[in-house]
């Protein structure tokens, strides 16, 4: 493989992780926006989880009203810039553009969306102001897409908002989890600075809300509390040897990568467990960090992988090899990972069955587990009356209200893990839900 040499400088890192959806120039935006048909009741709008009026914002770009275009986008989705870059547009708006039916390239909606919003952010265009103060206060836990979107909407409605964030930076997984070739740290954070400038909510960093005492203080001080806490760490598999050095969770691996960039270490020979989008991201990222071989190990067949086709193709294109129908039994090695003992599997009646006597060891010096994120159930149990469903997701009604009426929620913590756009759209609804509740 070694398609990528290990990046040692910021420039090399930027090359290896070159943006999949680079920013458009004005000319490109003009050409692309010219192609949009301005469909009636456009299917792209229906396909967008945040329902952005896509033909409208594209038409605004085309007529030179880029600021108005950014307003159209932000009115529906406060993560408009990030979403243009990180959304799986192939299965959302662009996937439903009518041009597909004519076998013509669909409109590059995502890139146009980022074009308009980038301009508003760079020029710090004033699009929104906080609503007149209504004297009520809301605490938001988590400065991810859900939390920040809720904060913006609540500020627009006149609430005083304080956001409590465990980490040092806002935007949640947008800056800590999404692949660096989708959005740069600077871009993710620039949108956060822009939004905070528009809406003026307070964010307290390094401020994890950890237990009953913290929660009780919030409950006393705030009229409502919004839970935008997302998901937790990578789930433990319970395999022998899982604690060995260089056996890491994908979410943790990516978080470190996004912060350390070219200083990040990767193994020479990497095995990634999993078949979802995070597994594809981790494999791609390992390859771009200069790993010599990257093998994806999945318990089932290729067709059963949860990852989007285009994510799989992207990882394959940078050299990832697939190892299908295998289950890991043990991580082998002394202190360090030296390989994985696998057993072959077959699928019978939809179930994975191990094939006796088919064990083998595949050598490697790093294992990345992309086998799902745990729910934050331990923390959530501190909230009185808060119900979780069978899969650990917070139960809430259409307005985002949980079974403890003071608490509202949306995003990954509630939907179990979706995309940035879902968190942003649902948080807007929940903020309206809080408003309805507190206006009673």
């Amino acid at each position: 493989m070694a398609e990528f040499s290990t990046p040692t400088t910021a420039q090399e890192f930027a090359q290896n992780f070159a943006q999949l959806k680079p920013n458009m120039s004005r000319t490109e935006a003009l050409y692309e926006s010219s192609r949009c048909l301005f469909c009636f009741d456009a299917p792209c709008i229906t396909a967008c989880p945040s329902g952005i009026d896509i033909p409208q914002f594209i038409r605004q770009i085309n007529s030179g009203n880029v600021t108005g275009s950014a307003r159209t986008i932000y009115e529906a989705n406060y993560f408009g810039n990030a979403c243009g870059k990180v959304c799986p547009t192939e299965v959302l708006c662009e996937g439903s553009c009518v041009y597909n039916l004519q076998d013509v390239k669909p409109i590059e909606i995502g890139r146009l969306q980022s074009y308009a919003t980038t301009q508003a952010i760079t020029e710090n265009k004033k699009l929104f102001t906080p609503g007149p103060a209504n004297g009520k206060r809301v605490a938001v836990i988590g400065a991810g897409p859900a939390g920040i979107s809720a904060a913006c909407e609540l500020r627009a409605l006149g609430y005083e908002v304080t956001v409590f964030e465990a980490k040092a930076q806002p935007s949640g997984l947008t800056v800590y989890g999404v692949a660096p070739y989708k959005i740069t740290n600077e871009e993710a954070l620039a949108e956060m600075t822009y939004l905070q400038g528009q809406f003026g909510y307070e964010v307290r960093y390094h401020a994890p809300i950890t237990g009953r005492a913290d929660l009780a203080a919030l409950e006393a001080e705030y009229d409502a509390i919004f839970l935008g806490i997302g998901l937790g760490k990578t789930t433990q598999l319970g395999l022998p040897g899982e604690e060995k050095i260089n056996c890491v969770g994908a979410v943790e691996f990516i978080e470190e990568l996004r912060q350390r960039q070219q200083q990040m270490q990767v193994g020479r020979t990497v095995i990634v467990f999993g078949g979802g989008n995070t597994a594809m991201d981790a494999a791609s990222e390992a390859a771009r960090l200069g790993a010599e071989s990257v093998v994806l190990a999945y318990r089932r067949g290729k067709e059963e992988m949860g990852a989007y086709d285009f994510e799989y193709e992207l990882a394959k294109a940078v050299g990832m090899k697939g190892l299908f129908n295998v289950a890991p039994l043990e991580i082998v090695g002394d202190d360090y990972v030296a390989g994985v003992r696998f057993i072959r599997t077959v699928i019978e009646d939809g179930r994975v069955r191990e094939v006796p006597g088919s064990e083998f060891v595949q050598a490697c010096d790093m294992v990345i587990k992309a086998t799902g994120q745990a729910k934050q159930t331990h923390f959530l149990h501190h909230i009185p009356g808060l119900e979780l469903d069978g899969r650990g997701r917070i139960v809430a009604d259409a307005a985002g209200q949980t079974t403890n009426p003071q608490y509202f929620t949306s995003g990954d913590a509630r939907n179990g893990g979706a995309e940035v756009v879902n968190a942003a759209a649902e948080a807007k609804v929940a903020a309206r839900g809080i408003h309805a509740f507190l206006s009673k």
Binding site: L30, P43, I45, T46, S50, G51, I52, A76
Partner: protein, 455 residues
Amino acid sequence: MPDLSINFAGITSPNPFWLASAPPTNSGYQVMKAFDAGWGGAVWKTLGVPVINVSSRYGGVSYRDKRLVGFNNIELISDRPLTDNLREISEVKKRFPDHAVIASLMVQSRQEWHDIVRQSQDAGADGFELNFGCPHGMCERGMGSAVGQEPNVLQMIVEWVMEVAQKPVIVKLTPNISDITEPAQAARRGGADAISLINTIQSIVGVDLDRFAPYPIVDGQGTNGGYCGPAVKPIALNMVKNCAQHPDVRLPISGIGGIENWRDAVEHILLGASSVQVCTAAMHFGFGIIRELVSGLEQYMVEKNFNTIYDFVGKALPNVRHWEDLNMKYQVKAHIHEEKCIGCQLCYTACEDGAHQAIRLQAGTRTPAIIEENCVGCNLCSLVCPVDDCITMDRHDDGTQHLTWKERTTANTIPTEFNDEKAGGRHHWVPEPAAALGKERHKTLPGKARALGIL
């Protein structure tokens, strides 16, 4: 291979494509280069009295991502010394004896006209084009369109020219007049050999929204200019047709206006032009476009079995009639070919808001359906549909009946009440006005946000 050569009122040229009098024909250098590239003729940039130009001279009209769909200029006639131009004309003629070099002229007095005609004749020009068209700068000095708009003055000047001209004289007409055939007839009365049209149309191509001034801007201000380029073709075609059909014009026509590709040229020819001139397209893309013009024209002639240009000059004219001669019994209706439809619903919204509410949406599919009783056969939906041949206009009458407005007038059966079959007869169906309310409003808010009632 078909024969593209022409004999236009006595001026011969290897093909009908001439460069119009404008910047591309400003010098011998350019004209030689153009002939070398394949152009058949060139009307030299207008020669005449000394002028001074301003800086910032052109303005353009963009349509979405397409630049220069319309073009305007505030330039005057040649600003190069007459002697230089004349010397270069003779050099070009020496090098290209079979190509057409036409001297475009614009002066004021009889003496001046005599002098300049003789001088260009001596330089070897194959003919003259009298520029009675320039709509800015020269008209204030009593030339250009000031002449083109006064048929009597035009005729007088043509007569002066004919007194000395030994080569064919073409009169170039301005479109800035209500009836183009009047100056055309005046040209004929004056003895001209041919006409050419159109020159540019008085225009303001745009206004700078920040500087509050029209384009092109000269030190913060601007003036009306002359409009040309693809956008003017429809106007040019109509005027060419008017001159070609007029019984008192009967002069060869050099068609000008919006010609950019072979199709545009063929359209001019089908409406009566027997040579065509190009300016904007050459200014935009250079002389190289001649290859496409020639190859397209040749291919068309091969396919249609035309041996010479004259096989189809004016061929569409018999089918260009007055409205009162059209068959009112002819009836087409829209038909959507579902297998081609991509579901943009532009046809629906166009007919719903802009025509006759003859298209409806259907449950379970994005493909709309035609309500045939309501369709008047206006074509709108088929024009907005982005897919080729997806909406066709199919004939519904049986083709046996023919009735024109003129026939009704003659038979004295002009209607005295509103009873147009195509509009549903006496009781033309339209929705009740109040049915409009609430129909559209929800479409203008972002989709999901709207559905969720959060905006």
